[in-house]
Symmetry: D2
Subunit: 390 residues, 4 copies
């Protein structure tokens, strides 16, 4: 990873001196994701919002829809992409377009407006996350209308694909659940020399904003408050992303079990990831012990395992501004809410050979808009954490 931890870079200073700003359009800016994005961009030294859209809030000021943005720097009216007077020229002259749109709408918007766009597209939606259009069809039950573009979009997890993001013009921002899961798995599935993971079972819990601002009975206060439930227990679309990335990182195909649950909180994801592990034969052989179980029945070997895990995580994230490994401490959602951090801890259950990894993020920041701005910063050569206060 080439991230330069917390060093302000020279480009920033140059831009400040030149008073040059990045012209930004936000498409679909009135949902939870859009709101967080606007707040970040409002703090961002180089952001100049030139266009915000919301078909439901046409002609309303940002500060009307979001009273807490009363002093918004670039306060302006939401436009409708469905309106005849939609100013395509402003869109096309912008430097960056963020798409905060529901499934299927990003690809339509790109097809309609951005095929010749020369700036940076960051799709916070889900249309360009799967690289293989067959996977897309399988998980989204829908034909992709821009199959050939899928390969052009970088999967925007900076901790994994910093090089690809730098200078890129097309970034697909990962899903919230996949972000929490992939960051927690990457260090131990990439070239693991001690143990292999036999199967991966993810029990994920998300705050309500993860579902977007939908007027459904299941998202009413009285439906969620003092309640808890699982949903989409078999074929949640995020499985496709998780398996795609696990394969890219580890070189191996996994079928993961993934079960999302709805937490009665506004924001935050807690993923409990169960990895059944087995020591590599080479490792066991060297120690002249025949089974993983025996191997682990030695405190010394468990210690070696823990040291290995520690080492993998620490080295993997040593230059990361936003991922923190807590060792055997368990992270809590409140540690990361309102931040762009991902915190990761683990426990190893010697009785069952299960490595339990705990990963927390704010679904609207590291799981959406925070990571999107992190991607923008990297793509444009700005300091990675600009606007993301750390």
């Amino acid at each position: 990873m080439e991230q330069n931890k917390l060093n302000d870079n020279k480009l920033n200073t140059k831009l400040v001196n030149q008073k040059k700003l990045v012209k930004i359009a936000v498409i679909g800016a009135a949902g939870y994701t859009g709101f967080e994005l606007l707040k970040i961009l409002n703090r961002h030294k180089f952001a100049n919002i030139v266009l915000v859209t919301s078909n439901q809030n046409e002609s309303k000021l940002i500060s009307e829809v979001f009273p807490s943005l009363l002093d918004f720097k670039n306060n302006q009216k939401f436009l409708s992409t469905e309106s005849k007077s939609f100013p395509i020229n402003i869109l096309l002259k912008s430097n960056v377009v963020f798409l905060c749109l529901p499934p299927f709408e990003s690809m339509n918007f790109i097809k309609n407006y951005l095929l010749d766009y020369s700036g940076l597209i960051i799709d916070i939606g889900s249309d360009f996350r799967l690289k293989d259009y067959k996977d897309y069809k399988y998980w989204y039950q829908n034909d992709h209308i821009l199959k050939d573009s899928l390969k052009d979009f970088v999967y925007g997890i900076p901790e994994l694909y910093f090089k690809d993001i730098k200078g890129s013009k097309k970034i697909s921002n990962p899903g919230c659940y996949p972000t929490s899961v992939i960051l927690a798995l990457a260090p131990i599935i990439k070239e693991n020399k001690l143990f292999e993971i036999i199967d991966i079972n993810i029990d994920a819990k998300s705050g309500v904003s993860g579902a977007g601002k939908k007027l459904k009975e299941m998202y009413l206060f009285c439906s969620v408050n003092e309640n808890f439930l699982a949903y989409s227990p078999l074929m949640h679309r995020h499985i496709g992303e998780i398996e795609q990335e696990i394969k890219r990182i580890s070189g191996k195909s996994y079928k993961v079990s993934f079960t999302p649950h709805l937490l009665p909180i506004n924001r935050g994801i807690f993923s409990t990831i169960y990895c059944k592990i087995k020591f590599l034969e080479a490792v066991e052989a060297k120690k002249t012990i025949t089974t993983s179980e025996e191997y682990l029945n030695t405190d010394k070997n468990v210690l070696e395992l823990k040291n290995y895990i520690d080492l993998q995580f620490k080295s993997f994230y040593k230059n990361s501004n936003f991922v923190r490994f807590l060792g055997e401490e368990i992270p809590q959602i409140k540690d990361v809410v309102n931040t762009n951090y991902c915190y990761i801890g683990y426990s190893f259950d010697i009785r069952t050979n299960i490595l339990k990894i705990f990963s927390v993020i704010d679904n609207l920041l590291k799981g959406a808009s925070g990571q999107a701005v992190q991607n923008m910063n990297i793509a444009l050569g700005l300091t990675e954490h600009e606007g993301l206060i750390i």
Copy 2:
């Protein structure tokens, strides 16, 4: 199961006519469990509370400590078991003693006061749940002071041990997590003729009252609200109970993985139970298919699996007043809060061969005081649901 679903029995009527009441003592009645127990007994036609204790609330009226019990039928003062004037005679003349005490205190109380007690003891605490004192020592890191009594206590899950409970004088009320888990597993681990369960991984989530009324920073409103975390991820004491009962029911020893989490709600448990399954060789052989995976790659076989699961649950709970099987619908905590019900649903993940079972209870009712009264009713020959409103 011999439960008679919802039929008022004759004893009830007789007692009503005779105006005979059951004299009840509640030891440790000022916590969350005690409060729920008092509420149930207040509604119970035959309950006459003759003694309530709380060392922290000595001399306060029940209605002072719990203002919502202002019209409590047997309103009286809490006594202290540490006081010299503690009325042992009242205790010994009672018909039933409920113990709502923290670990280690139940056995002390029994040793001090109840060795010669002729009435019914129901321990809502955890001291007599494990039948083997070595298991007790392993999970509680403590020597049991009444080793020989362990075998005398019936493990009080009426849906499993109705016969043993009936007429019993000593009942150990199960833990809240184990209740939710064992009820969800029993129908498919008992004489399963279609598949075997290779491993069991339980991701459990509990409301805050599950921890009791403890003055710790982690239970303050601002610590729990808008937060979520895992705790005791390796050696939670309830694992011992779960494994003991799985072994009794299935005849097989399992090492289960169990990870409890803290939900920002007052009450309720949601257990997500992951069972990796494999078809029995006999079954597969008969169908001339060699692996479970192949076997399952036929819609017909999946259907057979689902039918089998449905059948097992429905027949197992056909006479049960308090356990409901929802099939492939997912239960929610709010479905059972303030009731003595356990609701169970499932999903079968054909991609990973994992059977996901979802089980919800109210931790203070079916997970504690509700089940305790259910046990009392059965032991005394009363209608099982008296006081438990259904």
Copy 3:
């Protein structure tokens, strides 16, 4: 008040012996109020639900819409009042009709179906609460279509109008806020011989279910949770009811200030009622003290005031099953949630001559369905608390 506190009456016993049940229709049974009503009727010894309607849930079983009512005694399908096959005959043969309908719909339903109905109508909605059609027009901005019927409906607060309710055929169930306010004011505005109340200012706070099950952004979990706001700060419709009842009880016209607020909880109302008071001239004269302020600057007189308040409340509610006066203790919402109780406490602020009365109810029970069943019980001559567990 003629209520007989907690005495089961003879009619009950007779009905039990005869196994005679009350045939009940519930119109609009799928909202929060309907749900609570169904739960109470399910526990009610004499209730036989013969008809439930919900235009949105036509043909669904009660237990489908409300999974926690899986074992509902009179489980049946919701019918639609808009359907051609709506069974008017069943409706007309019922003994009691509960209307749980939004503003304007109760009067339409009565006009369409119940003009010749011979049973008991209990309108939990708001159409028949105001007795003067001009008041109705003022507060509801709408012409009443059954002006002449307004006088036929008893305003159903049993603690005030027990005699009128007994044997009545038409009851208008009070609003939730007015119930909490009127019960808190009645004892001191009725024939007060010590002080007069100069003005009344009500700051009321309600849980979200008070608004009904509406799909609006303001009732989404993320809108309400961790938030608090005032709404309808000037002309909330409940003011009309409150002023009407204050006038009936005290004989004096007041213009009250009423400001409702939205609490991030499921259920419960907390009303803080500020009464600026002044001693009656006769009282002051007798004591040769000229102003209230001077009068109050004597501890003895404050004591007299407190004793008077205590006496008024205690004597007013001495036969009441469901209203409890706590003196100078402050009630909490959790004391009454899930019960049909109203708890009332007070503080007298000697610095400002303001009597602060605190009143709590469960808006869905004493504020709606609980009180409705209490009214039904009284009207039919049953035990007042049947089905209301105390």
Copy 4:
């Protein structure tokens, strides 16, 4: 008000160029207030934390106690003020000391350590808010040990006392409730030429963090969640502050009624302020109308009233960075949570002559640490909003 809205001033730039930082000590830094203060100072360009204390957390790192501050710029160990090795020299060499201490402890700390301190003291506690030691004794039931110092402390509401704060060495940070109330009243009690306020009745609601991190049963999750109550209904200490400031601003003595309530949310205050108003005689005379009531029974006059209120608020806060007037819109707690803003709206009730003012703040920011840093910035001549992100 001399605040310069949002203009970065020259001193900031100079300091940046000189890389000169403000050396800051935080005494009592492990509570909710301390945590927020640390977060703000971490973002503050010129803050260099040289000392943090917490007697309960001695020797623990900031990042251990607050895992979300894992990347804290000035991460360091908490010291104990009770320890022999407490480094008084570091304290005395600091430029600013923030005191986040419970009642009575600030004055003791100042007496013991800071009598000769030459830097800036900002007391976030309550010991120096009341200027008259008799008031202090009345409201705190305690003798002040530094009576003569009371007058030296500026009451730190920048929107009122900007000039006094600038260059000051001793600032007493206002209470959370008083901040929300005084900001809402100041514009209409200062030289009001249209109406006078007859009495002021404040119904205030606060999130739980307002009570600090206390291990009491009433602050446990299960006590607060799904609950609401009033507390300290007669003599809350904040009344003294409110009355002191009302007198300073308006020149008139008021006895205000103040009733605080506990909201089941982490943070935020909503104050509903009821002002009974009366038009000035001069105003009424001019219009040849004899009573306020008649006067207000003219739409034109109500309009004049509203225009006057609008004008007063807008002109009063025209240069304010952190106070926003919403007119007749009602603010919500979520509009200001996690910000240093105060939002104010109003409704005028023509039926009762009551002006209802609604004021919201984040109790930990504008109500505590945010305002404290705002005060520091002003006192030191820095940009008012440095570190406070707007």
